[in-house]
């Protein structure tokens, strides 16, 4: 099989916040009743996490569940495990009205590190990033495209967007993190 690479192939930018391509991440999109016991169990079996409360994310990129909408969750697993994990979930949810799709290669993931991650993100999105609690997954608009943002701690933010806009997203974030563009 051909070697899988991300859209940006590991690009980084060192501004007053560091913008990194987070590399290959396994992602499984699940639609269904998130309160259903079988759905919860299938998600937990592959990610090791319980179903998060609305708008929250449980765990992180190497094992987590993000609440995307009342009937959609994004299950995060290591990239290499994603196809098998999706197959396992599909088997487990055979009798439930649910849809499981592996979307690892349809998304791009970024990690932002630095004291001022909130500021860099706030400049390019209408969401109130200053008030975003750590661990809340905020789906919003980033400049002209959709993105999902969460903070895993006060100085680390993660962002997921469509792979087709990865270059645009990287440039927007890099420009926002450019030294000299700090908000005074």
């Amino acid at each position: 099989m051909s070697e899988a690479v991300t859209a940006l192939n590991g690009a980084t930018y060192d501004g007053y916040v560091r913008v990194e391509d987070a590399g290959l991440c396994g992602m499984i999109s699940l639609r269904g009743d998130l309160a259903d016991a079988k759905v919860k169990k299938a998600c937990k079996d592959v990610s090791g996490q319980g179903m998060p409360k609305p708008r929250m994310i449980a765990g992180g990129l190497d094992g987590g569940i993000g609440w995307m909408s009342p009937d959609e969750a994004l299950v995060l697993v290591p990239y290499a495990e994603a196809p098998a994990a999706a197959a396992r979930m599909e088997m487990a949810l055979k009798s439930v009205h649910a849809l499981v799709v592996e979307v690892s290669d349809a998304r791009a993931v970024f990690t932002l590190r630095g004291e001022k991650v909130r500021e860099v993100l706030a400049k390019v999105t209408p969401a109130d990033i200053g008030a975003l609690p750590v661990g809340e997954l905020r789906r919003t608009r980033v400049a002209q495209v959709a993105g999902a943002i969460w903070l895993s701690d006060e100085t680390t933010a993660h962002l997921i967007c469509f792979r087709s806009v990865a270059t645009y997203m990287f440039e927007v974030l890099s420009r926002s993190a450019m030294p000299g563009s700090e908000v005074r």
Binding site: P54, R55, M68, S69, P70, E72, P126, A127, R138, R139, T140, R141, A146
Partner: protein
């Protein structure tokens, strides 16, 4: 800037995170309907200066459609509610009537 609270995810979404969906609570007239009904379904829209009841989609967010009631003259938002209904909830109608006596909206006022 218009800010509507999505009833599905609870986010106070900025106008730029939403997509407008036009007049709410239309009755669909399809094949077999009279030409007058079909024309009014396609083209005739309420457009008062004041209370509007609209459909919106939280497109840069949870992706759900919902309903919103707002005033086009002042941009005051009276409330938002679920899409799984054919008319504005009684409670919301009361709020609007208190603030804008005599308002009307198509067949659902």
């Amino acid at each position: 800037m218009l800010t509507l609270t999505c009833p599905y995810c609870g986010i106070a979404a900025d106008e730029t995170e939403l997509s407008p969906g036009g007049q709410a609570h239309l009755t669909r007239f399809g094949p077999g309907a009279s030409e007058e009904d079909f024309e009014s379904y396609l083209f005739m829209r309420e457009n008062p200066k004041g209370v509007h009841i609209e459909r919106w989609r939280h497109s840069n967010g949870c992706g759900k459609w919902f309903h919103a009631a707002r005033c086009t003259a002042t941009l005051e938002v009276f409330g938002t509610y679920s899409a799984q209904t054919t008319e504005p909830p009684e409670e919301l109608r009361k709020i609007i009537s208190e603030k804008r006596p005599g308002w009307s909206w198509g067949a659902s006022s």
